[in-house]
Symmetry: C2
Subunit: 194 residues, 2 copies
Amino acid sequence: MPAPALPSLAHIDLSSGIIDPAAEVVERRLSDMPAWFQDQPAAQALLSENPVLYRVYAMAQPDTAGWRLATSVIESGRIGAEYYMTRGHAHVREDAPEVYLTLRGRGMLVMQSRTDETVVQVMQPGSINYIPGGWAHRTVNTGDEPLVFFAVWSIDAGHDYEAYAERGFAKLILAGEDGPRVVDNPSYVKAKRA
Amino acid sequence: MPAPALPSLAHIDLSSGIIDPAAEVVERRLSDMPAWFQDQPAAQALLSENPVLYRVYAMAQPDTAGWRLATSVIESGRIGAEYYMTRGHAHVREDAPEVYLTLRGRGMLVMQSRTDETVVQVMQPGSINYIPGGWAHRTVNTGDEPLVFFAVWSIDAGHDYEAYAERGFAKLILAGEDGPRVVDNPSYVKAKRA
């Protein structure tokens, strides 16, 4: 029989988003995802500076824990007209959702079904976003301070980053004169229909 | 084939804890749980006033959503020396956890395994509590303002309130001269060992 699961406790600094104790901190710099941005000359020009785009702090938990808890902190900035964003991924398990609660900043959550439906939701302090299984998801900081949000997902959800590295998402979030705009991605490769 | 699950979005007022849109609001007054408190003369004396002890606001979601999202708002107050608290329950499914993120106030989370182990964790803004499946849980407002926390659980977790209505929890949280104290419950009925 497996050891019984034990309760665990951590603390989020609600301003910085840092979790203590954190088991793992993932840091993504521009050099980790230069091809993800539409404006390639702008991305190449910024590579020497190589800014941090986002960090993910995962709560320290026993191996027996079924759900993972983390904060993501996306820095404020742009590559050309495109805001700093996460790589984006889908869960392998179609019944594995993910939940976000935004703690600080402003952003947009881009979701995309396996049949190319797109839903874009706003993120601001107090927003709760429910991402059903089967929907790829990417978060974008459209504000002028860090976007900090809390996330919960199942440890057996499985993560598919590769499909979205190749295809991208159908919609881009670009800075416009009147704020962020949702526009079609001209280089998007549609999902293969089953 | 079931309809594909759709993303959903709601907003928490981070001060009041109210979710908009909320599908359901559960309100618990003293008359819903008078026998839950140790000091029965104090409970009976307060029944005519019948204060609200807590409310739960569940996010409006499609039926297809696999996880439930809610806020709980426990009012500040006492019945004798015992703080206002939730009834407490365990999940029927032993692999169904629950996650809390405290947004406002101060409290304690009392957890109890099926073999009578007890873990008490503090709750304060930024606390994240991970409650594994199989652990009964009750939240207690030990502060002088509402205790507001966000919760996530699986829709198929199953809720057992009855066992803890009869047995109570092994530990009580009572107000003392130096603040809240964790004390043995003199009328606690131990779990039957399988």
